[in-house]
């Protein structure tokens, strides 16, 4: 299928009088229909500028944005409101509207001068509210909703607008973990079931990697890496998102972590995958590197054998919790450090 948005050699940035400030350049993107695309990048790297440029609310420095093959600058405001809907985290004065009234605002591009809703409009509103799962709150005031519900109502407004493209600027920014996952899942489902192109910017890397079909990663040098999520991850683009040497992208976990200075090594023997994962998590945090399955370490390295969370043996001594394991290991490492110095 033809992508809904394409750009060729696009450059984003700001114009101040005569001077221009370039934020990102040589952007070639194709936004696919029926997919959830996540835009990742550090704060201040130009995500919002890119979204605004794609949405036609900010003029590019170079090149142009094609919406459905047409330059977005040539599309009238009214027509654009039927092609592209936006969701922000802006504070609104809409607390005194009911959910139904707010979602009905999404029908404005389709209604006449007075905004009167006909039967079809009301059906669209009802469906939009149902598909984001807030139908039971339809007559509640927006002020009475939780942050997560409010964000869903804004998504329902975007659905009621009936546009083939929805762009969301950090829709999960102020949400708790549960609503964050919920919202991302909702967007993923909507993209697949409605065939709309959904583009969102987010800082929630783990959810984006789990649920986004496509990733756009803005690297630390302002270059853009696009593609199917796994292709982008495997290309190593995630590491390029941060310049810092200390923050490392863990390819196995799909998330960022900080390097801890190494204090020593240990051998971990554990057959249970879950237990093994969380024990290595504890060891890594405490600066202990794990040497896997070395049969002949010559008794130099401390050995940890774990059968269950309450049955962990550290160099022959029993530990009945991870906390005790860490304490024992601390002593051993201190001793070995001491003996290696003397």
């Amino acid at each position: 299928m033809k992508p809904i948005i394409t750009t060729h050699n696009l450059a984003t940035g700001y114009r101040h009088g005569g001077s221009t400030t370039m934020v990102m350049s040589r952007i070639d993107i194709a936004l696919q229909r029926g997919r959830l695309t996540a835009l990742l990048g550090q704060n201040g790297i130009g995500k919002s500028t890119l979204l605004r440029t794609i949405a036609g609310s900010q003029a590019p420095i170079e090149g142009e944005v094609l919406l459905d093959g047409r330059p977005i600058a040539e599309i009238s405001r009214h027509e654009l409101s039927k092609l592209l809907s936006l969701v922000f985290t802006d504070r609104t004065m809409a607390g005194g509207l009911t959910v139904r009234e707010l979602v009905s605002l999404g029908r404005q591009p389709h209604t006449g001068f007075f905004g009167r809703l006909d039967r079809h409009d009301r059906q669209v509103v009802q469906q939009a509210v149902e598909s984001v799962g807030v139908a039971h709150k339809i007559d509640s005031f927006v002020a009475e909703l939780s942050d997560g519900e409010r964000q869903k109502v804004m998504i329902a407004k975007a659905l009621a607008q009936e546009t083939p493209l929805i762009i969301l600027d950090e829709p999960t920014a102020f949400l708790d973990v549960a609503s964050r996952i919920d919202t991302m899942q909702l967007l993923c489902r909507l993209a697949h079931s409605t065939g709309k192109a959904i583009l969102l910017s987010t800082h929630d890397v783990s959810q984006a990697l789990l649920l986004a079909d496509e990733l756009w990663v803005v690297a630390d040098d302002h270059s853009l890496h696009c593609g199917t999520t796994e292709d982008v991850v495997l290309s190593g683009a995630m590491q390029a998102m941060f310049s810092s040497e200390k923050v490392r992208f863990n390819m196995l976990k799909g998330d960022y972590e900080v390097d801890v200075p190494l204090r020593g090594k240990a051998v971990l023997r554990c057959t249970d995958a879950e237990l093994g994962y969380w024990l290595s998590n504890a060891l890594r945090r405490n600066g202990v590197a794990i040497v896997h399955n070395s049969g002949s370490t010559g008794g130099v390295l401390p050995e940890i054998e774990a059968k269950s969370p309450v049955d962990i043996t550290v160099c022959g001594t029993k530990a009945s919790s991870v906390a005790q394991m860490i304490t024992l290991l601390d002593e051993i490492l201190r001793d070995s450090l001491h003996s290696s110095l003397t």
Binding site: S57, L80, S81, F114, G115, R122, A143
Partner: protein, 354 residues
């Protein structure tokens, strides 16, 4: 009013009840304003005069038809105009504490009037002057002053993002205009200063039946125009970025709304003086009464509530005292301030704040 957004049944019933209550209060207060005043006129006589009968007491006849009736119409029009002006400013600036007097629009109008009254003070009579040209020049002065302040505010609102900061800028602009007015007062004639001070106290009784159309026509036109803006006003509740995405031509709509508020404020200010608090308080009364921020119900309720509040203030001002009519600006804060403080203290529990 056309229904721009589907309303739940309870909302519709609440709207109907609130509107009937407001109409009842309006009629009651209008009757009160007709009957009560410095001169005691029997109710039967007032009714008779209203019905078109000649009263044997010619003075009563004059008082009812030439003083009380125009005063009631003036107060009702001014109240509706200031209240709608406040509502529009609150939506345009996304700020529940915006109103023509706080943002300095009234003071700007006042400065315009001061320039006309004080700079050309000699040629203008007691409060307004006696010639048609006199009223028109005062009206134009007020509109020009309001326009200057509104344009300045609009320009500041593009640079300053925070709503509170904009309010403070409005207050500062207001101070500047006041200081200019003080200068004008200082350098002007005593009679000019006197008429300006009297005008500044605010009153609804300065408009004669003959002048009334000059006030009513622009106000009714601006109110009708405001009623046509329901759709973009509702979109603007979501903030400018959402409104633009819904197809609202923000620049045009904002300009239109500022012209409407400018006309509403300037006309009232020119005829009645700079009247505070009605524009600030009435939209909140309407929202609390209807429990909605939806402009298609809010605008008619704000019009009626504005009339009710203005007539109430007027009734208090004409209560028989030894010194005559009390200034309106002495009464509006007594009604307005407690309501605003109540709203600020309870903003966490008031639905439309969240």
């Amino acid at each position: 009013m056309t229904q721009s957004i589907t309303t739940s049944h309870s909302g519709k019933r609440r709207f109907a009840v609130a509107m009937w209550l407001l109409v009842a209060a309006l009629l009651l207060l209008a009757a009160g304003n007709l009957l009560i005043g410095a001169v005691d006129i029997p109710a039967a006589e007032v009714l008779g005069i209203l019905a078109g009968h000649e009263s044997e007491n010619y003075a009563w006849q004059i008082i009812v038809t030439q003083t009380r009736l125009p005063m009631i119409v003036t107060a009702a029009l001014a109240g509706a105009a200031l209240a709608v002006s406040g509502l529009l400013l609150q939506t345009v600036f996304n700020n529940p504490l915006a109103d023509p007097s706080i943002l300095g629009v009234s003071t700007g109008s006042g400065l315009g009037v001061a320039i006309v009254m004080l700079a050309f003070g000699g040629s203008i009579g007691t409060v307004f002057g006696t010639t048609f040209g006199g009223y028109v020049s005062i009206l134009l002065g007020a509109m020009l002053g309001a326009a200057v302040v509104l344009i300045a505010l609009l320009m500041f609102s593009m640079v300053v993002k925070g709503a509170t900061m904009l309010l403070i800028i409005g207050i500062m602009v207001s101070y500047l205009a006041s200081s200019a007015i003080s200068f004008l007062n200082f350098f002007s004639t005593e009679s000019g200063v006197h008429s300006y001070v009297i005008w500044g106290l605010g009153n609804f009784s300065g408009v004669t039946a003959r002048q009334l159309p000059l006030m009513a026509v622009p106000l009714l036109a601006a109110l009708a125009w405001a009623a046509l803006m329901v759709k973009p006003l509702n979109a603007m509740l979501l903030g400018s970025r959402y409104a633009e995405n819904l197809g609202v031509n923000l620049r045009r709509v904002r300009n239109e709304l500022l012209i409407i508020t400018g006309v509403l404020t300037a006309v009232v200010t020119a005829f009645c003086g700079p009247i505070g608090f009605i524009g600030l308080v009435v939209p909140h009364i309407a929202r609390l009464l209807l429990r909605t921020s939806n402009h298609n119900r809010l605008i008619p309720a704000t019009v009626l509530a504005g009339m009710v509040v203005a007539l109430l203030c007027n009734l208090i001002s004409v209560l028989p005292t030894s010194v005559g009519v009390m200034p309106i600006n002495a009464i509006t804060p007594v009604i307005g301030v407690p309501i605003i403080i109540y709203i600020i203290l309870n903003r966490k529990r008031i639905f439309y704040f969240n």
